[in-house]
């Protein structure tokens, strides 16, 4: 037995007081760790959910982000491999207009604000504020998607025009696909928050959704750089 588990063993409490404590489950403070009783390790008082790395969903999200991040990274490798094999780049069409993409970079970075507030509200168990900031976030997302549509129209090349066009469209499409799925995810998480009663696990979902959004925002920075500045250098 590792020391730290064993050291959490207090004196045995009597049966009646334990039952009282368990009945009051929702109101007692959760500072009580696992408790040793004879040959048993009692975990009845542990919290029923946790945020951050304490939540299994955090690990699932981290795994998915690693997978998608790997996909983005490899696609960027493909882009530069193709670029290195071409005398002129873009080898067909023009570089995309800077306006909408740069605006979207700003919007994405700005969307971190409602995202942070929603995350914080969830972690503070403030359902009302979580709802509010999620709604703000959803509006932000709508703006982002709208600008993304304009970006597609300003790419200035078709996917079947040349290898350049193919690489830009797929890199861009990959990120847009993630943007869309996370946006949908936010809508669903927000909807569940308006469906009463709300249990703690749903607040963890709000926090995890916010965590995944960070991945979308942060990954947009290198992809923006490649799509918009790759053809200019």
């Amino acid at each position: 037995m590792s020391e730290s588990v064993a050291s959490s063993a207090p004196v045995d409490e009597d049966r009646a007081s334990r039952q009282r404590r368990i009945r009051r489950r929702e109101t007692t403070p959760a500072s009580v760790p696992a408790v040793r009783r004879g040959n048993l390790l009692d975990v009845a008082d542990l919290p029923s959910y946790g945020f951050g790395t304490r939540s299994l969903m955090w690990w699932g999200t981290a795994g998915m982000s690693a997978i998608e991040g790997m996909g983005f990274a490899l696609m960027i490798v493909v882009y530069f491999d193709l670029k290195s094999r071409s005398a002129v780049w873009p080898n067909e069409g023009r570089a995309p207009d800077l306006l909408w993409g740069t605006l979207n970079l700003g919007l994405a970075l700005l969307s971190a604000v409602p995202n942070i507030f929603a995350d914080d509200a969830a972690k503070n168990h403030d359902i009302r504020k979580s709802r509010l900031w999620l709604l703000v976030f959803v509006i932000f997302g709508l703006a982002l998607l709208g600008v993304r549509w304009l970006e597609f129209n300003a790419l200035n090349v078709r996917w079947d025009a040349s290898a350049y066009g193919s690489a830009v469209w797929v890199l861009f499409g990959l990120h847009t696909f993630n943007l869309l799925t996370n946006y949908l995810d936010s809508l669903v998480v927000a909807a569940v928050l308006f469906k009463k009663p709300v249990d703690g696990k749903r607040l963890v979902d709000v926090a995890e959704n916010a965590g995944y959004w960070w991945f979308i925002v942060v990954s947009w920075i290198p992809i923006y750089a490649v799509v918009y500045w790759g053809p200019r250098f």
Binding site: V5, D42, P47, S48, M70, A163, S166, V188, V192
Partner: protein
């Protein structure tokens, strides 16, 4: 509050009447806002409550909805084994064709499909899924938890895999079997030469099986890092669990590569992109890079679970703890890292910088070191142990011989000048079968014999097992050793026939005889399984007196795995027990599906966790994803509109039901 019996031996009969009474009592408790907690032993009220809350509903719907890792794991293993048998039949057909010069059993077109289907089946829908299936079954039991971290995802992964495999084989039955080799090189598999739908089915298969692989990898990683029994610190983790962890992390970083490649190839085919079309700025070689950046680690994520099997079997049959446990763990991790630096050794025959090739030669030699370290540790364990020579150990010894031979030819082909001489010849065919069958299939058969009693409650027949082993071992060498020579004599891979004047006839005939012996051996295994399922010797909880936690529960385990989650105090929890330590966890809800989340390094109890209930949505989600994939092959609009059904299915999958929320609120306690 009915906290039930404290003692582990409190007994209450499990008659139908007492169960009904119990259920009523349980519902009444829930109504009053109380729950019955686990922690008591077999036969207690808590055990009955666990059985009730973990049981799948009976009938077809229960079968389709289940998210029990044991049922899904068994499905993975059985399905993958059937694909193994089917892929083996293709190999047998190829051996029949090659047995004599100028043979005309199959024509060139069918032969192309045969070797492609054989390789694709063995690598993508046999080897990886069966290893992951074994992990899905074994890892939660070995770390002492009640289900995987994301049980619905496990279920969905299986359905995706099944449909992927069936679509590839269905296409083959309709003469649309993939035919560009198992690595589907462009431009042969591209739009210009890969006419028809054959390559599309291959690309779809890759998407589906790799999605499966990635989902299971994330799932298993989470189980291993967050759901270990209290006290099972990383240093006390069983070696198979270590192997599964390293494998899963490798999958997470390697599989996106082939998935991306297959999609780019499919875009070239469907939407007219130019990734692999040099005429419009594309690059053919980038396919090979992307494929082998996945493909070489893939060899190791077939091989590492095999090493995990070996490291589980050897201590049990040597009756002592593993010698050099830490060294073995470090070797597994080192192998995982090094395997990402080998991919170019598949591309020595392409026009790449010579300096780069030297680097990959060095890496290829280097990866022999951690494998050698493990082999020495195994030998030391056996040397100093009291050996019990049962069938699983026999397979391990066979693995030593075959793997070492394959490793030696690996060092040979790792050097550029030698590789250029034997590239695309039968020498490579011999090498890859020695490492893959030696490194994965021999340990796998050992693992089947070792864990069959846990899966089914019955032992496999020992005598038939010995026959099977010797037939397999001899047949394998008779089939594949001559291929080294054939390769050195210049016989290329993937030719459907050869002239009598080449002089390759005799060795090819010998190889075909070897293949027949292998087939007999596999048939014998099937007979053994069928016989043992019906009337094999009953195994009991721990027939081999092994040390790890999967043997601490019944064989086969109940739906809830452990009547109480064990507490671990050493590396060999069933061999050594500290006197003054708790033995079990108590206090998880027995009336709902509840488990325990622990900390990453020390496995301290941290959070209780409510497992998701079984539902039909993972299956529906899998069906809609497959539908989307095929729709996107047909039309551009299919790629967009086809997304709507999966979106609906995934939302329905997540949407919390009233019952789930009520349970959650009942058990709720803020962090």
């Amino acid at each position: 509050m009915s906290s039930g019996a404290r003692s582990l031996s409190a007994g209450i009969g499990s008659s139908a009447r007492s169960e009904r009474a119990l259920r009523e009592q349980a519902d009444a408790l829930v109504g009053r806002g109380e729950v019955m907690l686990d922690g008591a032993g077999w036969g207690s009220k808590a055990a009955l409550a666990l059985e009730h809350s973990w049981r799948d509903e009976p009938g077809v719907m229960g079968w389709l909805k289940t998210n029990d890792h044991k049922r899904i794991g068994k499905r993975f293993v059985v399905t993958a084994f059937l694909f193994f048998a089917a892929g083996g039949l293709l190999a047998a057909l190829m051996r029949v064709q090659l047995a004599f010069p100028d043979n005309r059993v199959v024509g060139p077109d069918l032969y192309n499909q045969l070797f492609t289907m054989h390789g694709t089946t063995m690598m993508f829908i046999f080897a990886v899924p069966i290893m992951q299936g074994m992990a899905v079954y074994l890892v939660p039991l070995m770390v002492g938890t009640r289900n995987t971290a994301f049980p619905r995802m496990t279920a969905c992964a299986y359905w995706l895999y099944l449909m992927g495999g069936l679509s590839l084989w269905g296409a083959f039955a309709l003469n649309a079997g993939a035919d560009a080799g198992w690595f589907a090189y462009v431009p042969l598999a591209g739009p210009q030469y890969g006419i028809g739908k054959r390559a599309d089915f291959w690309n779809n298969l890759i998407n589906l099986t790799e999605a499966m692989g990635l989902m299971v990898a994330v799932d298993i990683t989470t189980v291993i890092l967050k759901m270990r029994a209290p006290g099972m610190s990383l240093r006390r983790m069983p070696l198979f669990v270590w192997a599964s962890l390293v494998t899963s992390l490798m999958i997470i970083f390697a599989m996106p590569s082939v998935m991306l490649a297959a999609n780019l190839a499919q875009f070239d085919r469907t939407f007219g992109t130019h990734f692999f079309n040099p005429a419009d700025g594309g690059d053919v070689l980038i396919w090979q890079h992307l494929f082998w950046f996945f493909g070489h680690p893939e060899v190791y994520f077939i091989f590492l679970p095999g090493l995990g099997f070996v490291s589980s079997i050897i201590p049990t049959f040597a009756r002592r703890p593993m010698f050099g446990h830490d060294a073995v763990v470090l070797s597994l991790i080192a192998t995982g890292f090094l395997s990402f630096g080998l991919w170019v050794h598949h591309m020595f025959a392409t026009n790449l910088p010579e300096l780069g090739k030297s680097f990959f030669t060095a890496m290829s030699f280097m990866i022999a070191i951690p494998t050698a370290v493990q082999i020495f540790c195994w030998i030391a364990t056996l040397w100093t142990g009291r050996i019990s020579m049962r069938v699983p150990l026999l397979y391990v010894l066979g693995f030593f011989a075959i793997l070492v031979l394959g490793g030696l030819t690996g060092i040979m082909v790792g050097s550029v000048p030698f590789d250029l001489q034997v590239h695309d010849s039968y020498f490579v065919v011999a090498h890859l079968h020695y490492v893959l069958l030696g490194g994965a299939v021999f340990p796998l058969f050992g693992a089947f014999f070792y864990w069959f009693p846990k899966f089914t409650g019955r032992l496999l027949d020992e005598r038939l097992g010995r026959w099977q082993f010797w037939l397999f071992f001899i047949g394998f060498n008779v089939a594949f050793f001559p291929m080294h020579l054939l390769g050195l004599y210049g016989m290329p891979r993937r030719i459907y026939t050869y002239g009598a004047d080449t002089g390759w006839g005799t060795l090819n005939l010998v190889a075909t005889i070897g293949a027949a012996i292998i087939a007999t051996s596999v048939l014998l295994f099937v007979v053994n399984v069928a016989r043992s399922l019906a009337k094999g010797e009953l195994a009991g909880d721990n027939p081999w007196h092994a040390a790890t936690l999967e043997w601490a529960t019944h064989s086969p385990p109940p739906a809830f795995n452990f009547v109480a989650i064990p507490v671990v105090a050493s590396r060999e929890p069933l061999w050594a027990r500290e006197a003054d330590e708790p033995t079990h966890v108590a206090g998880l809800s027995a009336q709902t599906r509840e488990g325990l989340v622990t900390t990453v390094l020390d496995a301290l109890p941290d959070v209780r966790y409510s497992y998701p209930s079984p539902t039909i949505w993972p299956l529906i989600a899998a069906i809609t994803v497959v539908g989307w994939l095929f729709a996107s092959n047909m039309t551009t609009s299919g790629m967009f509109w086809g997304l709507i059904p999966p979106a609906i299915a995934f939302i329905a999958w997540y949407w919390p039901t009233r019952k789930e929320t009520a349970e959650q609120l009942l058990l709720q306690r803020r962090p």
